[in-house]
């Protein structure tokens, strides 16, 4: 049944060369860096396709094959296929099989890692699993690289930010865009503290509501077990995740719950100015009395297992509003809410149904 998009091979069925360690934008305190292979270790359960083949076919069908191959040659697969002393570039004019693409990446990566003394193909990585090279401790940190390349230290005065803001303001105003002016004010070289809570408190007034209606802060947190949601469809992970408080509901301060007449496990409703979400109360002491916390955002999932978690989600509470959007075009994962027991006594999602 596999056509183009779905189903995609799972992690255990697919092929990919993955970078190990290395300090570039983040620091990694490892004594080695290199490459490791993720390769099929299980037969495909259904007629699925590797993501690489899916991407290649999509590129070909929409007429972007040349650009697609060029991107891979530039390093879209994690390693540029051409570099100092090596050229394993793909022919940009024709589609390439998944194995061919990763074979080139393997050769380029091993060449780069060894300075050309060891060049290994996909078969070698499949057999050996990984290839490492020593990483000096100095390379653990960004500082030596910044120093070596003569990159200017801007902190604490970030003149670049100010400059970019000014340039952006000019461009926007030239075309008559003024609705970003509030955000443009945030391009400051030395930003002062502002009353951040007021941004969300005042938003209730903006939409004609009384801020006192929403006395609590709703926050969200990532789940180590669900790994950004990647594991959320695996019931075994769901089982072990429940060993950690909050994976079966919405965390609420015990004293606050007492005031609201909420007991452990009660179905509760969180309501913000823009939506509602539901879950079962998980009472804890290690959370501020004015705060509720939802782990992950899973109420919009439509895939098996995940769609039945019945956990509350901040996604259903946050508003898409310019006044809550910062200069990066994003905003904090936060909302003002009121909390009460669910009338129907059962945990259900009643927010916008996006399933």
């Amino acid at each position: 049944m596999a056509d183009i998009l779905l189903p995609e091979a799972t992690d255990l069925e697919g092929l990919q060369l993955i970078k190990i360690g290395g300090t570039t934008s983040t620091e990694s305190f490892w004594r080695h860096h290199g490459w490791s292979i993720r390769q099929p270790v299980a037969d495909k359960v259904v007629d699925s396709r590797d993501m690489t083949d899916i991407a290649t076919e999509l590129a070909e069908r929409v007429g972007l094959l040349k650009e697609y191959n060029a991107a891979i040659n530039r390093g879209a697969g994690g390693m540029a296929l051409t570099g100092e002393g090596f050229d394993y570039a793909l022919d940009p004019e024709v589609p390439h099989a998944c194995e061919e693409i990763w074979d080139r990446v393997c050769k380029a990566a091993s060449h780069d890692l060894s300075g050309g003394s060891e060049v290994h193909d996909l078969a070698w990585f499949s057999e050996n699993g990984y290839m490492l090279a020593p990483q000096p401790e100095l390379a653990w940190f960004l500082y030596p690289t910044v120093k070596e390349r003569g990159v200017r230290f801007e902190l604490p005065y970030q003149e670049r930010i100010k400059r970019h803001g000014t340039q952006l303001a000019h461009r926007l105003h030239e075309i008559g865009v003024t609705w970003w002016d509030q955000q443009l004010e945030e391009y400051q070289p030395l930003p002062p503290y502002k009353q951040f809570p007021d941004i969300w408190i005042n938003y209730a007034r903006e939409v004609g509501r009384d801020p006192d209606e929403f006395p609590l802060w709703a926050l969200t947190a990532r789940s180590m077990q669900y790994s950004w949601g990647a594991n959320v469809g695996i019931p075994l992970i769901n089982e072990v995740a429940k060993n950690v408080a909050g994976h079966s509901g919405i965390i609420l301060n015990r004293a606050t719950a007492r005031v609201l007449g909420i007991a452990e496990g009660d179905a509760i409703v969180l309501e913000s100015v823009s939506g509602t979400t539901q879950g079962n109360a998980v009472l804890r002491e290690g959370i501020r009395p004015d705060t509720v916390l939802m782990i992950g955002q899973f109420d919009h999932w439509a895939t098996p297992v995940a769609k039945d978690l019945e956990l509350g989600s901040l996604n259903s509470l946050t508003a898409m509003a310019l006044s809550l959007t910062d200069a990066t075009g994003s905003g904090a994962d936060i909302a003002r809410v009121k909390v009460c027991k669910a009338q129907n006594g059962a945990s259900k999602r009643t927010g916008t149904d996006r399933r």
């Binding site: 019931p235 992970i237 089982e239 072990v240 015990r254 002491e285 290690g286």
Partner: protein
């Protein structure tokens, strides 16, 4: 000599549950069964709150309370200290489950799937049907360990020979090694660091030791409040392994054996034939209890294997005694004048003692391991025996002869049982019985004293001064109350006060918020 064990560093565990997932993967445990688990422990009140993650599982005790209670020998302690399970030998009686003070054992009766009843290909491939209906628990990945040793690897050092939980720990919080080797990783860790064993006071000498201090930061004494000690996840839950069918065995067994003992004592001067019939009644009641038990165990077809460990298991001994009692009853019916009745009296007493010791041997249930429990079971059995004798006298006067002695003995046993229950209740906290179980015990106390003690004392007392016919009626009514009360408290203690031993944290790492944010010596005045 080798002694495998673990060190858990409470300061290092981040609660990621990788060890739990690794264990489930390595051992293909079914949904809900976690041989290795990690508790999310929160103590205190906002803003003074401590939180830590506590890795638990089978402690592979030096003196495991699960081993001697096993009636089949399925649970053993290996030469290297690992407590293992022989699934093909286990009958699923759950004696080991209720004997474990670390909530380390499970019994799963049905094939289960993570995917709503439909088993996936991997689940079918990794199925362990031999584990259905029998006890299962952590075995320190013994197959992995043995294979590693055979390949010349060092468990605890070489990951391929190390239990999956320790090998997978992302924070180096779980360490596995040989405590018998003074230079091993685990030996050096407990030499160089403060550590504790969970429930050291129970004498099991668990081989998982917990580190709680840091070189710069000592640990602190635990300050668990009563509320915290009874709150999840530290508190033990009501056990569900011995259900009403298991309780019926204690009810019927106590009643039958107590009746046989009392009939033997009270019928000393009566025709032997009537005593033979009374013993037959006892045997039937005893059989009802044992058959009920047969429906409870996970592998009833293997029930006879329960006779294999009479050297250590009171359950085995009970089976042997029961197997002796019934043929002797039959023999007594045929040859009532022989020594058989004397033997039956002794065997019945032994049966009563076996039952008392079975419950007492359940070290994982504080309300059952209380020292008064065996005395309570024996005295209740005798009391019930007198009661049943009085009922027989009421309905079949030819079989049993009442006497003031019976009534006086009944009053004495009522007083004795009342005192024993009172002492049991008031000493519960000191005996480590948790709040939930104590509440259950307190809840039944007034009813028990009223129905099983006060009412029989009153009725038996009045019966001493009325005509023989009225005395039989009064004694009969009082006896029904005695038997109902005896059955009631046994059911109650097993099904309502049978909370598993909770987890203890005698020492805590320095961590938390508010007043726990820093050790006292670092606090700013």
């Amino acid at each position: 000599m080798t002694r495998w064990g673990m060190v858990i560093d409470l300061n290092r565990c981040v609660g990621c549950q990788t060890c739990v997932a690794a264990c489930k993967h390595e051992n293909a445990t079914p949904p809900g069964v976690q041989w290795r688990t990690v508790l999310d422990v929160e103590l205190g009140t906002f803003p003074d709150v401590q939180r830590l993650f506590m890795v638990t599982g089978c402690q592979h005790c030096e003196e495991p309370s699960c081993v001697p209670v096993c009636p089949t020998g399925a649970t053993k302690r290996r030469f290297d200290g690992i407590v293992t399970m022989d699934y093909d030998r286990c009958i699923g009686c759950a004696a080991c489950v209720v004997a474990c003070p670390y909530q380390a054992r499970d019994i799963v009766h049905e094939r289960e799937s993570y995917y709503r009843g439909k088993r996936t290909a991997p689940e079918i491939a990794a199925a362990h049907d031999e584990r259905l209906g029998v006890a299962n628990k952590c075995n320190f990945c013994v197959d992995r360990l043995d294979a590693g040793l055979a390949a010349g690897l060092t468990p605890g050092v070489d990951l391929a020979a190390t239990p999956a939980c320790a090998a997978s720990c992302i924070a180096s919080a779980i360490h596995f090694g040989d405590y018998a080797d003074e230079q091993s990783n685990v030996s050096r860790m407990i030499t160089d660091n403060q550590n504790f064993q969970v429930h050291e006071e129970l004498g099991t000498d668990p081989q998982i030791r917990y580190l709680y201090d840091l070189p710069t930061t000592p640990g602190r004494d635990s300050e668990l409040s009563d509320a915290e000690a009874v709150a999840a996840p530290l508190a033990g839950k009501q056990q569900t392994y011995w259900d009403y069918k298991g309780a019926i065995n204690f009810v019927c067994g106590g009643l039958a054996s107590g009746f046989a003992v009392m009939a033997f004592l009270l019928e000393a001067n009566r025709p032997k034939t009537s005593l033979s019939i009374l013993f037959l009644v006892a045997a039937v009641i005893m059989a009802v209890g044992l058959v009920s038990l047969l429906f409870k165990i996970g592998r009833p077809t293997r029930a006879l294997l329960a006779a294999l460990q009479p050297g250590t298991s009171w359950m085995s001994r009970e089976l042997w005694v029961a197997a002796t009692f019934s043929p002797l009853v039959a023999l007594g019916l045929v040859l009532p004048d022989l020594w058989v009745h004397d033997a039956l009296g002794v065997v019945a007493a032994l049966f009563l003692i076996c039952q008392a010791r079975i419950l007492y041997a359940s070290k994982g249930i504080p309300a059952w391991r209380a020292p008064l429990i065996p005395w309570m079971l024996v005295m209740t059995g005798l009391f019930e025996g007198i009661a049943l004798y009085a009922i027989v006298e009421l309905v079949a006067p030819k079989l049993a002869a009442g006497s003031p002695m019976l009534l006086l003995l009944g009053i004495a046993l009522a007083i004795t049982n009342a005192i024993l229950w009172h002492r049991y209740r008031v000493s519960a906290a000191d005996r480590g019985i948790g709040q939930a179980a104590r509440s259950a015990i307190a809840k039944i106390t007034p009813w028990l004293h009223l129905v099983c003690h006060a009412l029989p004392i009153a009725l038996f007392g009045v019966a001493l001064f009325v005509s023989i016919d009225n005395a039989r009626i009064l004694a009969g009514v009082g006896s029904v109350a005695v038997i109902a009360g005896g059955a009631g408290w046994k059911f109650w203690v097993i099904l309502r006060a049978g909370h598993q031993q909770g987890f203890a944290l005698p020492k805590m790492p320095q961590r938390g918020s508010g007043g726990y944010a820093a050790p006292p010596r670092l606090k700013v005045a």
